[in-house]
């Protein structure tokens, strides 16, 4: 066929790199309003926020929405950052607040709709078999029954593999409070699993597979 096409030159916009800067210097630049600082912050901290959101929500797509919301809030609050050396913690704390807000919104939405919402575990690109996906879906359905603080504490500690101290710092809580939240979350999840025989049979099957 004859060529009747228009080729448009495409180039991803090349940005000057500021990757060598420390988090503290980046925070100072952001407070000073350097035009590049915000984008550099975005590039540097998106993976952190995204991973936290995926661990907590079990959904990559919802995690992307959370990431956007976190960085919109960061733009509003950047000037209020008092400790540039704690820039990472500052972003994590915003992410925690956004996640708490999202979890509360979901619970309220479920309550208002008078019927339990279907929990969709959306992990694009994950190579799990059908049974494992089913187990995850059911597991996150139980996670959705936890309070927002319990859920976040459990996710950060056990799925994100943070230490107790890191979790406490991220959530701006004392270590003892985080321990209490985790104990409560573990007990509630165990109780709910105890009555979910379908899920337990799937776990047994998978456990057997692992052993074999």
């Amino acid at each position: 066929m004859s060529i009747r096409s228009t080729h448009i030159k495409l180039g991803l916009v090349a940005q000057p790199t500021h990757t060598h800067l420390s988090d503290t210097d980046l925070a100072l630049a952001l407070i000073d309003g350097a035009p590049w600082a915000y984008e550099e912050t975005w590039k540097r901290f998106v993976p952190l926020v995204f991973n936290m959101a995926v661990s907590t929500l079990g959904s990559a797509s919802e995690a992307e929405d959370i990431v956007q919301e976190v960085f919109c809030r960061l733009a509003r609050k950047a000037k209020s950052l008092r400790k540039p050396e704690s820039f990472r913690s500052f972003i994590v704390s915003i992410a925690i607040r956004v996640l708490q807000w999202e979890l509360r919104r979901k619970r309220a939405q479920n309550w208002l709709s008078f019927q339990p919402s279907e929990m969709l575990t959306d992990l694009v690109g994950v190579s799990l078999d059908v049974e494992a996906r089913d187990m995850l879906r059911r597991f996150y359905a139980h996670m959705a029954r936890l309070g927002s603080r319990e859920r976040i504490a459990y996710s950060l500690r056990h799925i994100e593999s943070m230490t107790i101290e890191e979790t406490a710092e991220a959530m701006d809580l004392s270590v003892s409070t985080v321990k209490r939240l985790q104990e409560r979350a573990t007990k509630q999840l165990s109780d709910w699993l105890n009555t979910d025989f379908d899920l337990k049979s799937l776990v047994l099957k998978r456990g057997g597979c692992h052993e074999g």
């Binding site: 995926v54 992307e64 919109c72 992990l123």
Partner: protein, 443 residues
């Protein structure tokens, strides 16, 4: 079994599930750079909007209070008049066929069939099987739909205040009233938009900013190769219109059928001039006053049809060059003269057998046949003809995909299974890969 199940301690179950969640999380990687760029642009837009709103708030707060008070008095007095109806319209109602909307707005298939979203003002959205998409928002002016992977057809009803947005991977397609099909392959980062009617703008990680796509055009973006191509090869423009010859006259080996000109004039060509493109040896006579291929690219379809009519269609089909025949076919399809388009494509195959253009004509003939009721079988023959002549040609992926869908429609899913397997083997990231997976998953 129950005893055995109970024998697993709850803490052990929880540990296994937590480990599974951790394993899944570790497999999820943050969005690719292209998607991050698109999200970044969305975030900056939101921030700008927020700042603008805050600025407005402080600047006009007093004025707003005064206006609110005046409005309240106005309403109390019953003197208010309806303002912009679109602004006051409630969110569009819609219903879903072949699936349900679940948590997060995801559209989940209830079976192997495609999902159809029908909105009250007439807009229709069809997700091919295997497509992953979600309904982000619906309001009075339209909706915002995100396609994460797969192919979706849109027929958006034109309204003055309509606003429809489609997130396609890292791209944002903004439409008012139009018909188009768009697909996104998240693995190969391949974007493909074919516009049948209207006009859309596409924004995304492309340095030229927004791209306006017009009727009959196709926009393909290959992000890994950093390549953007707009072609005029869309086949939708000529679908389903008049001037259709009888079904029995179709066939891959058939000699060209000549559509009668709408006027009875059959004069010899007024002027023969050079074509805009270099002519190949063996090409026929150039009938166009200027290059018809250039005229097609410039959207001057009526000019081509007028010149062809003036020269006499029978004469044109018998003597035009290969390039002019293809240009004539394009112009005819865009102007819904399907019969003439088909005749031009048949002439191309008859007069220039074995040429690349003749092979492409077979694929286009297949699409034309598929668009007419009762001719899907003929379409399959044309696709076979194309695939036999150009197994690795430009349209090979589409020809095999269309053949698979047509076979499913004609003979059922089981008959199409082998084609689906063949498709996935040859084009694992092709535009019909989702449909092929769905076929094999739901036989």
């Amino acid at each position: 079994m129950r005893d055995r199940v109970e024998s697993v301690s709850d803490s052990a179950s929880l540990a296994i599930l937590t480990a599974l969640a951790r394993e899944a999380r570790e497999q999820v990687s943050p969005p690719p750079p292209a998607a991050l760029d698109a999200q970044w642009s969305e975030v900056t837009t939101r921030i700008t909007r927020q700042r603008f709103r805050r600025g407005l708030f402080f600047r006009f707060s007093l004025m707003g209070i005064a206006a609110s008070a005046a409005g309240a008095v106005w309403m109390l007095l019953g003197l208010s008049r309806p303002s912009d109806p679109a602004a006051e319209t409630a969110a569009l109602s819609y219903h879903v066929e072949g699936g349900t909307v679940v948590e997060g707005g995801y559209l989940r298939e209830s079976g192997p069939e495609e999902i159809k979203l029908r909105f009250m003002e007439g807009t229709e959205v069809v997700l091919t099987p295997g497509t992953r998409a979600r309904l982000r928002t619906v309001d009075g002016s339209g909706a915002r739909i995100a396609i994460e992977n797969g192919t979706t057809f849109f027929n958006v009803t034109h309204r003055p205040a309509a606003k429809w947005q489609v997130d396609v991977g890292p791209f944002l397609v903004t439409v008012k009233g139009t018909i188009f099909t768009v697909s996104w392959d998240a693995v190969s980062e391949h974007f493909d938009l074919k516009l049948d009617r209207g006009e859309v703008s596409v924004a995304g990680p492309i340095s030229t900013g927004e791209i306006a796509v017009k009727a009959g055009q196709r926009l393909v973006v290959d992000l890994p190769k950093k390549e953007t191509v707009i072609t005029e090869e869309d086949d939708g423009g000529g679908l389903g219109a008049g001037g259709v010859p009888s079904a029995g006259s179709l066939g891959p080996s058939e000699a060209p059928a000549v559509e009668r000109p709408e006027s009875s004039t059959s004069r010899p060509p007024g002027r023969a001039a050079s074509l805009g493109r270099p002519r190949r040896a063996g090409d026929g006579q150039a009938l166009s006053a200027q290059g018809w291929a250039e005229a097609v690219a410039a959207g001057q379809w009526d000019r081509i049809l007028t010149e062809a009519d003036r020269a006499g269609l029978r004469h044109t089909l018998a003597h035009a060059s290969s390039d002019d025949l293809l240009a004539l076919a394009d112009a005819a399809r865009y102007r819904r003269r399907t019969g003439l388009a088909r005749s031009a494509l048949l002439a191309e195959r008859h007069r220039f057998p074995g040429s690349p253009s003749a092979r492409d004509a077979a694929f286009l003939l297949g699409r034309l046949a598929e668009s007419r009721q009762g001719e899907i079988g003929e379409a399959v023959k044309w696709y076979d003809a194309y695939l036999a002549g150009a197994p690795a040609g430009t349209y090979a992926s589409e020809a095999l995909g269309r053949k698979m869908m047509a076979t499913k429609q004609l003979h059922g899913s089981s008959a199409a299974n082998s084609l689906a397997r063949d498709y996935l083997r040859r084009f694992p990231a092709g535009p019909y890969a989702g449909a092929a997976h769905a076929l094999l998953t739901h036989p």
